[in-house]
Symmetry: C2
Subunit: 379 residues, 2 copies
């Protein structure tokens, strides 16, 4: 195998694929990057067994300026190889595989020889034979991921909760995540209906990594679902993730259908207040803030307290306050995560009782997005 390429093009693709590569893997060859060169171009692959990313550099695309001398394949130590490519002196680089998988990388007067591995020993990527591809605008998927993945559990004691539950029926996609203290649910209408119904759980880590790859120049994303894998295709990149096995708990009953107290806030204004209140709750052993809503006085006040450091009290700015008086305590970090998902919009917070979960929804399109937080008993 031997080729010459514009270094910046190669590095960009290399960096994308390297996202999947972990140094902590138990399968040594997965610390490597697989490079396959055929007559049509280069394919780079990285994997940590859970996530696999494959990205193409086509010879047909003149921007890549790919010159092929001979085809072949090799696995190179990913971290070193990335560092080398990043620091090469010239715009062009040449890579040539010699005997015993020795690989020579040259650029200007610099010549690196690194020990490669036989690509035949690299695990095969899962084959996804699903005929049907669902198409979603990339920006919508990115938002959906960021809004739900915050509620995923990071405890391996209930592995199923470390994923986001996706159900697809017709043109309706519902994504739900819960760590049993809070829940985030986002509903989406697909551009075209799915002929198959799906019920899958995608690991939160995979989704976070995927979301980071969806830069602004990615417009749409194609989703293919198989029995234990999901494949996202965008641009020249294929992103594979394994699915979590098991049944996701029924979360539909958790969401209250009525409320006794309602407050409307601008999400960023409430977020700033919560961040201030959490400065003191973080210094306390129980990370809790208290919200007091007084209907007659039309007053909402938040309190944070740390016996060691001191306390904070802030009169909140809201748009509307209706229903019954309420005093409720909750973890401000759950509230912060939830509020960040709403961006700049106005939201409604609906309470039923001091010890019952409360919900946050956008004031418009209330059904599309809901965050639920379980309060904390402080007495």
């Amino acid at each position: 195998m031997k080729f010459t390429i514009t270094r910046s093009t190669f590095l960009k693709t290399l960096n994308d694929v390297a996202r999947a590569i972990s140094t902590k893997t138990t399968i040594p060859i997965l610390t490597g990057l697989k490079i396959v060169l055929t007559d049509t171009g280069l394919v780079l692959t990285g994997s940590d067994a859970d996530i696999s990313i494959e990205s193409r550099i086509n010879i047909a695309d003149e921007n890549n300026d790919l010159q092929i001398d001979s085809t072949g394949e090799i696995v190179l130590p990913a971290r070193f190889f990335s560092e080398i490519v990043k620091r090469l002196p010239e715009d062009k680089m040449t890579l040539e595989v010699k005997d015993n998988f020795q690989t020579v990388i040259t650029s200007g007067a610099s010549e690196f020889t690194i020990n490669g591995l036989d690509a035949n020993n690299y695990p095969r990527l899962p084959e996804i034979t699903a005929d049907e591809a669902l198409t979603v605008p990339a920006e919508v998927l990115r938002q959906l991921i960021n809004q739900t993945v915050i509620a995923v559990s990071n405890q391996e004691s209930r592995p199923i909760l470390t994923g986001v539950h996706f159900t697809i029926m017709g043109d309706q996609l519902v994504a739900v995540a819960t760590d049993s203290h809070r829940l985030a649910q986002r509903t989406l209408t697909l551009p075209s209906a799915s002929t198959t119904n799906y019920d899958i759980i995608i690991p939160g880590k995979s989704l976070t990594e995927l979301s980071r790859m969806l830069s602004e120049d990615v417009e749409k994303i194609e989703i293919r679902i198989a029995e234990n894998q999901v494949l996202f295709v965008f641009g020249q990149t294929a992103f594979y993730s394994r699915l979590l096995e098991g049944n996701y708990p029924d979360t539909s009953r958790l969401i209250p259908t009525s409320s006794n107290t309602q407050v409307e806030f601008d999400a960023p204004v409430l977020l700033a207040s919560i961040q201030r209140a959490s400065l003191l709750s973080h210094a306390s052993s129980n990370n809790v803030v208290r919200l007091v809503l007084n209907i007659a006085d039309q007053k909402a006040t938040i309190y944070g307290n740390s016996p060691d450091v001191g306390n904070v009290e802030e009169v909140l700015t809201f748009n509307k306050l209706t229903g019954e008086d309420l005093e409720i305590s909750f973890n401000p970090d759950y509230m912060k995560d939830a509020l960040q998902g709403f961006g700049q919009t106005a939201i409604e917070v609906d309470f039923t009782a001091p010890l019952r979960p409360f919900t946050l929804v956008p004031t418009e399109d209330k059904e599309k997005f809901i965050q639920l937080i379980t309060p904390v008993r402080t007495f």
Copy 2:
């Protein structure tokens, strides 16, 4: 004590002073920030016993918009207080000390009450009675610090080597640092001669912290030296550092006076090559690169090697190569640190023999700045 101030002004001064405050101190009150308010303005103080920083906010400076209700003093937990000031909602903030050192910070609808400490228990700053003040342009001092502090030892086994040795005679200032593997020496002509001769050792950590505070809007810096303290004054800030006690080794004999091989490089070009070579040496148990200079062929080649990963070979671009053939091995990290001190300039590297220290000097003003590196025996 009670005052109102523009939050951004206060925060800037607070951040400057907070540089000296460590959470790891063994003296609990030093995790606090001391605030003293007199009729002329505010003085903030932070200290970790080695470094103390005192910064003033004058009432006379209208930009500060300082309104004094009553004078007094308090010590507040630095980390929390900084976080609070950073996150307050309005442009203005009011601070008031109540009974039992309880301190109330208000801004808009937000009110923080934090537990302060009696400022009488805060250690006094050292008194520096030195009459004489040396004045140095801030940018020159910043450069001098960055060029020498790299060679300071970070091992406490010989504490004296963790400092930079300053000798001042007349208008000549010489700063030297060595960790016994390398040495950096910078000479400076002072704008006006000192009437006293000084021989002091300033801890490297203090100098690094000082250099970080010398932003572009600091023009000149005043230095006052006492028996076991040095004081740097710039703008509204006083920076105190303790001095290291003991005799610094005589380093003048270490610097070779003649050489057998000379190469001229552009510092940034050589730096890039060294960085590439070090990619592989870092993966090896002995972090060493090899330089081979061939006079007849007018060729300079650098080699890096890691048995596990591979090797690199690069033909270096130089401006001039004279003297005798040479093959020498050295730690590339020492070379990188040294080269960074030269910035964009051309440098001369002078060698005597494969196992003798070699030097780097700028091609112009050779006497002003010298870096010395001890090679590594590889056979």
